[in-house]
């Protein structure tokens, strides 16, 4: 299974993800929320590239300071590949206001202070990309919205996409799902996946869409 083949092999995977558990604050998900595959990553972005991008995206979102002047990531393709560079756009007014509130409450409640709206821009393409990416395309990393109550999110302008961390956890097992109808755990939870946040415990149930 080579890069690009992975995406094409799971492209028409008839699965649906349902959020079945939420134990703490999360600006992405509500219980009962449903995602159909392939709508689990930013529209138009190759999931294999997104998986590679997420590796340093998390650090950027949490204000990590990288030594490199430019943050550049390539997709895993060998002869044909796409190169992305991280950049920031200005925050919208709602995020700016939220940043002010977060700074005021920082002594009591640490929250992510966003410096800008993170995007990954395609800067070069070698060969042919089956995802029909083009130079200059920008893909925005979803930061979630603001939770008021567990099932009420105040919109900050972000789309209702799958949380990037859940995507990163789920993506490597999608081919296994296709082949074995389950995530390769050897107990009775092979249709479940949870996010890495041990407090929120956002859990998704994966099911096949009946034809």
């Amino acid at each position: 299974m080579n890069p690009c083949e992975y995406t094409s092999s799971i492209k028409s995977l008839p699965i649906v993800l349902s959020c079945i558990k939420k134990d703490a604050r999360c600006g992405y998900h509500k219980i009962g929320q449903i995602y159909k595959f392939p709508d689990i990553c930013p529209e138009g972005l190759c999931p294999e590239a997104y998986h590679n991008l997420y590796y340093i995206t998390l650090g950027i979102l949490f204000n990590a300071k990288y030594k490199e002047e430019k943050l550049i990531v390539k997709c895993p393709g060998i002869k044909n590949y796409v190169v992305f560079e991280a950049g920031f756009e200005k925050l919208n007014l709602r995020f700016k206001l939220l940043n002010i509130v977060k700074k005021m409450l920082r002594r009591f409640y640490p929250g992510q202070i966003y410096q800008g709206r993170l995007f990954w821009e395609i800067t070069s393409i070698k060969g042919e990309c089956p995802q029909i990416h083009s130079i200059g395309s920008r893909f925005y990393i979803n930061r979630g919205n603001f939770q008021i109550t567990p099932n009420l999110l105040f919109p900050l302008g972000e789309l209702h996409e799958l949380c990037p961390a859940v995507f990163d956890n789920l993506f490597p097992y999608l081919y296994s799902w296709k082949l074995e109808k389950g995530i390769p755990y050897t107990n009775d939870s092979n249709n479940l996946i949870q996010c890495p946040d041990h407090k929120a415990n956002i859990t998704f149930k994966i099911a096949e869409i009946s034809k």
Binding site: Y55, N169, H198
Partner: protein, 179 residues
């Protein structure tokens, strides 16, 4: 690493080519076992889940108000729920990440994790480049499923690390099963 969830008997990974200079010091022809890629005793699934957090915390990401800036991360299996704590120690000013099992809900079927078990990781000195492992993980897992399913063909996979313009291409080597 012969447990059912991750089947890699008779599989090796070889460095096929290196474009430019590799920071991790890989050179063409170097061969790795799958065991060498993951810290000893750590579940490969859990390791994949915590990699972005390791990368973030080693580069100064700020996760909380504690003096010991730390983050708790859990494995993807909700019925197992192994949670590890990731932070950095100050020993000899070397940046070291320590992961400790913080809690577990049920016994993990593959690894007998014990509370307080630690893995010390010198900053930027992983036995195998973490970014490369992260990039390779979906394909390794696909191969594992194919092996388990009996559908692994003759085609071996190749994949590159995510660095650019210098990057490394890895290739799978399949050995004949020992009888």
């Amino acid at each position: 690493m012969t447990v059912e969830c991750f089947r890699f008997e008779n599989i090796l990974i070889e460095v096929k080519s290196v474009e430019g200079t590799c920071k991790a010091g890989f050179h063409v022809g170097k061969v790795f076992t799958l065991e060498a890629m993951v810290p000893k005793g750590l579940c490969p699934f859990l390791y994949h889940s915590i990699l972005p957090y390791l990368e973030a915390i080693e580069n100064g990401a700020f996760f909380n108000l504690s003096e010991k800036n730390f983050i708790l991360v859990q494995c993807p299996n909700p019925k197992v729920g192994v949670t590890v704590k990731i932070h950095q120690t100050k020993e000899k000013e070397t940046q070291i990440s320590v992961m400790a099992i913080h809690a577990k809900k049920v016994n993990c079927p593959y690894h007998h994790f014990e509370m307080g078990k630690n893995w010390l990781m010198p900053f930027n000195q992983a036995t195998f480049c973490r970014r490369a492992y992260d990039s390779m993980f979906p394909y390794l897992n696909a191969l594992s499923s194919q092996i388990r399913n009996g559908s692994a063909g003759r085609n071996v996979f190749s994949v590159t690390c995510p660095s650019y313009p210098n990057f490394v291409t890895f290739k799978e080597i399949r050995l004949k099963p020992q009888r």
